[in-house]
Symmetry: C2
Subunit: 224 residues, 2 copies
């Protein structure tokens, strides 16, 4: 049987996994909303972000209560502090999904994404969602190998981001400035979302291996 | 005389103030670098970010050591946890100053900012620096009134950000897509930097008044 301390810690971990799944799904739905110009879906993502914020606050309160009551030291203390940081990453990821949905809402009934970029945005959205699903799995399994996969996936995201910029900078760009601005921001939102998923996985790696995640802070794409 | 616990807490607070001053100055210098197309200055900002990352790691380690050794509860515990969050805000602000400097480096020997937007970018850069200077002062003084001023300053930042977008979207925009992309990202970097300064001030307010800062999460400008 597990003691009260570890039960509380498990509950925090479960909540992190739930947050990661929620924001991963939010980013998937925001991507569909922007590609299909689906206002209802966009609004549901925008409203849904309140739930993420609430989960983040609840998790913070649980973690702080746990610190106060159980007074953990050494590794146990690092686990709780790291959970607080992961929660902040996930809360911010929720904001980014909401930002994508807000672009969809702003341009409705048009799609903010021109046809020749829809495949790239779809790929970025799907990759973002997969990264977050893997981050959730890393929280559950503490699988360092899987965490390393996220680094490769993030390279793929950077590559998609670079493609997007190449397309934007191409002399044949014919979609005007407004669309260029939208696409620039969308690219940034997906890239940052992926960074947060990678950051969550790295924090788990740090807890398992003792190697500090911040020393491998993701670089922004060269164009940004 | 202060006890060991409060001396350690004061040291953490001093380090936060030093970080805030450092990143505020970095954003000021990054702005000069981009307006003057000053490659050397841009590179010094880019390299200087390592120092911010190190300060962040040191602060985290001090805070965790303090938690382990002193086992604070209630308000004292909240102060330490909040310091960790402020440090994360400041570390991220340093990244954003670095991003501005990277745009300057990428476009050297040109300036990324066309003449007719230089005044707006200068204003955004100066406002960002002032916001961070005030955030540092709020950490020192715990002055709730001053913290409220940051909300107004942030409204001014949002207004500058909207001006920037209006300018971009204007049919008379003649600077091409590459510059539009640069200006879009610069606007986002300044806005996010300001958000982090506001966030630092709000966290202090929360410690002083008990009112939760996250409930007043800054909204992005409508266009972003």
């Amino acid at each position: 049987m597990r003691d009260a301390y570890h039960e509380e810690l498990d509950a925090i971990s479960d909540n992190l996994v739930e947050m990661a799944r929620f924001v991963g799904s939010a980013m998937g739905r925001a991507t569909t909303a922007i590609l299909d110009a689906d206002l209802k879906l966009a609004e549901s993502v925008i409203e849904g972000d309140d739930k993420v914020d609430q989960m983040h606050r609840d998790l913070e309160n649980s973690a702080i209560a746990l610190l106060a009551r159980q007074q953990p030291v050494a590794t146990d203390l690092r686990i709780v502090v790291t959970s607080l940081r992961m929660s902040a990453d996930l809360e911010r990821s929720g904001d980014l999904a909401q930002h994508v949905a807000k672009v969809a809402r702003l341009r409705f009934p048009d799609s903010a994404v021109p046809r020749d970029l829809q495949a790239t945005i779809l790929e970025m959205g799907q990759l973002a969602q997969r990264l977050m699903a893997k981050a959730a799995e890393v929280i559950i399994t503490k699988d360092v190998e899987l965490a390393m996969q996220l680094e490769h996936d993030d390279d793929a995201m950077d590559s998609l981001h670079r493609n997007l910029f190449r397309h934007l900078m191409d002399d044949r760009w014919k979609h005007g400035i407004e669309t260029a601005v939208d696409v620039t921001l969308l690219g940034r939102y997906y890239e940052r979302f992926a960074d947060h998923a990678v950051s969550v996985a790295r924090r788990v790696v740090y807890l398992v291996t003792g190697e500090h995640a911040d020393e491998f802070e993701p670089e922004p794409a060269p164009e940004s």
